[in-house]
């Protein structure tokens, strides 16, 4: 890219890229931990958090109330977040901005890696596609079909895969390769 390659960056550039990749990696681990504790990382847990609240009883048209006996075991014991539409809007806007900017910066660094163009295009696209799948999966789970919660997991995994590939290849080329190949 413009004759510049990661291997040829000055020391300051290498330090900058390295610390950025390390920082984002730590952020990804913290984000994963937060998601795992607040919501869960299985499709079923995501579905429970995102799908709309369903009545526990089937009230027919015109019926104004219904009651049935339950036990405490029927009530959720998990201190989990239940994501309602206003929170979904808030989460969407912050994550779309934040993750897209991170994906952009990761891609910017990776543009200077010496990798085949097709491979580079594929890897650069992963965090962007992952972000879009992740957030759109949340909306589809809530408003279209709850089992689409699997898209949230796939999206998050694609983002993570993209980060790992970008970080691994970039760090390798920054510090361990001898010569840059166009």
């Amino acid at each position: 890219m413009f004759g510049f390659y990661l291997r040829n960056l000055p020391l300051s550039g290498k330090v900058f890229c390295t610390l950025f990749l390390v920082g984002i990696g730590c952020g990804c681990i913290a984000a994963f931990t937060q998601a795992a504790t607040a919501v869960g990382v299985s499709p079923a847990e995501v579905e429970v958090s995102l799908s709309p609240e369903m009545p526990m009883m089937q009230m027919h048209h015109g019926q104004m109330s219904a009651e049935k006996e339950i036990t405490l075991a029927d009530v959720s014991a998990a201190a989990k977040v239940w994501i309602r539409t206003p929170l979904l809007i808030q989460t969407s806007h912050t994550h779309l901005f934040g993750q897209t900017l991170i994906a952009g910066l990761l891609g910017l660094i990776f543009l200077f890696a010496s990798v085949r163009e097709g491979t580079k295009a594929l890897i650069v696209a992963l965090p962007f596609v992952g972000t879009l799948l992740d957030i759109s999966g949340m909306w589809l789970t809530r408003f279209v079909w709850p089992p689409l919660s699997v898209l949230v997991i796939i999206g998050g995994s694609l983002f993570a895969l993209g980060y790992v590939l970008v970080a691994f290849i970039s760090l390798w080329q920054l510090w361990l390769t001898k010569e840059a190949r166009p």
Partner: protein, 184 residues
Amino acid sequence: MTHAVRYAAAIVATLTLVGVAAAHVTPPVVLVSDRDVLAGSLAGAQRLFVREVRLTPAERQAIQKQTGWTPDEDFYRFYIGRDAQGRPVAATIFLTEYTVHGPVRVAVALGPDGKVKGATVVELTEETYPWMRPLLDPQARFVAANLSKGLDSMGQFYGQIVASLIQRAALLYDVGVLKRGDSA
């Protein structure tokens, strides 16, 4: 080298934007599970029932007139504790207010006559938690008396949010259960 300087400048500018975006994220905090709340608020009841209530347009209007708040949920769910003979001894409802800093979800415990017995803050956000903390006991129960103990403006604001949720809960039980004669 000019390219490299531009490249670095672009990265710094974008990092600043990332920081601004990240500053908006306020992760939710769940203080207590629904089951734990009910185990406490319905203690003494021998049987547990769930009652779901749809409000009529007239009932929604009555609540709106009294509080300025229009109930907009499709249904409201009460957990009702009853004694062995089926008489109600307590009820609990979970209500949420969406603020600019995220949701505040509260469980309101009511007596069989609709009198408020207490409230527990179930869920809020990392941002609102420090403001709300002076108003909560270690079990996350709302201590209304602390409202008059020199709280800052945000503490006062969130105290009022909880107080209004308590008021709504009492009204919903009154209109949706007691006035219909459905509590027995």
